[in-house]
């Protein structure tokens, strides 16, 4: 075999070899992407037979069936919203772990933030009011002339201090 042929074979191998590895790597990525999407959806669905855990975290038979169903629906090309809507149409809004951002659900989303804002505002208001009142008290005290008794006491203390020296 001539050196040119060897060089050509090596070049072709150099191009083709990475492709051989690239195909399974790509397939794995698709599978991982599918699993990630399924996990993302099943994390938002409540296990029908458990206490407060998601379909994703449960090994109950219903949860396994829901996971498989979600996987099939994703493979069929259905969107996350379509899949969630399907389960909501069968189980009601209960199946969704997070309340919907509409109607009464919107109140549940907004209320904690609103309460935190109100609490924060109240704290700021109280701190400022107390600082203002304390500042006013200190200023008004500073403006007051000393009484006779206070002057006498200061003089006495100064005298004692000088004597000790």
């Amino acid at each position: 075999m001539s050196s040119k042929r060897i060089t050509a074979a090596m070049l072709a191998g150099g191009f083709l070899l990475p492709l051989l590895f690239a195909i399974p790597a790509g397939a794995l990525t698709d599978q991982e992407a599918l699993e990630k999407k399924v996990r993302g959806i099943t994390d938002q669905l409540r296990c029908p037979t458990c206490q407060g855990i998601s379909v994703n975290d449960s090994e109950a038979a219903f949860s396994r069936q829901i996971r498989d169903k979600v996987k099939r629906m994703v493979r069929e090309g259905q969107s996350e919203d379509q899949i969630k809507a399907y389960f909501e149409s069968r189980y009601g809004e209960w199946i969704l772990r997070a309340p919907k951002k509409e109607g009464l659900g919107l109140v549940l989303w907004v209320l904690p933030g609103l309460l935190m804002l109100l609490a924060g505002g109240w704290i700021v208001y109280t701190v400022r009011r107390n600082a203002r009142v304390n500042g006013k008290d200190a200023a008004s005290e500073a403006e007051q002339p000393l009484s006779k008794a206070e002057l006498e006491r200061i003089k006495r203390d100064v005298r004692l201090f000088e004597e000790e020296l």
Partner: protein, 184 residues
């Protein structure tokens, strides 16, 4: 104290919490509101346990259906087995005015058959597939669950837990009423 806004704020919080708890205690956990109520029953095709006969729900339009989900491993299903069989004997075999269907879920054909034999079930029994397609389409939480479907194929009532003769009689009275429009 009565004029303090802080007092009324705390009181309103306490009243709200007590109210929510009180409401929770008054609700029957066996009555689960289903979004399927007053809507069309999801269609399915099932094959009879131990035989090749198939049945499609939509083909039963014109006849009310008592659809029960059960399993051989379910203890409460034993309690209601004779009630369902009695409904089948009285309303289906006796009067031909009702279809009683039983779909076993998360079960095997052998165990389902053994259960059916042990409790003398003679109505149409089938097994949901491994994927649980029928169970999920009916939004099941467990077994037993029973759906009362009117002659127009609309789900009118759903019961979670073992059915009693009184419950079956009351709901069928509405479904089987003469000139029934199937509405409760």
């Amino acid at each position: 104290m009565w004029k303090s806004w802080k007092f009324w704020l705390v009181m309103s919080g306490v009243v709200t919490v007590v109210g929510v708890l009180a409401y929770g205690f008054t609700v029957n956990p066996k009555f689960v509101k289903s979004p399927l109520l007053n809507g069309p029953a999801p269609n399915f095709t099932i094959t009879r346990l131990g035989g090749g006969e198939t049945l499609t729900l939509s083909e039963l339009k014109g006849t009310p259906v008592l659809l029960n989900f059960w399993a051989s491993w379910c203890l409460a299903c034993r309690d209601e087995a004779h009630v369902l069989q009695a409904a089948h004997k009285l309303y289906e075999e006796g009067q031909g005015r009702l279809r009683v269907l039983g779909i076993a879920i998360q079960d095997t054909p052998e165990k389902s058959m053994a259960f059916a034999r042990a409790f003398g079930k003679t109505y149409f029994l089938a097994l949901d597939n491994v994927a649980g397609d029928i169970s999920l389409s009916y939004g099941l939480y467990g077994v037993p669950e029973t759906f009362f479907i009117d002659a127009q194929g609309i789900i009118r009532f759903k019961h979670v837990g073992a059915v009693t003769p009184q419950l079956v009689r009351n709901n069928l009275a509405t479904l089987l009423a003469p000139n029934d429009e199937g509405k409760q």
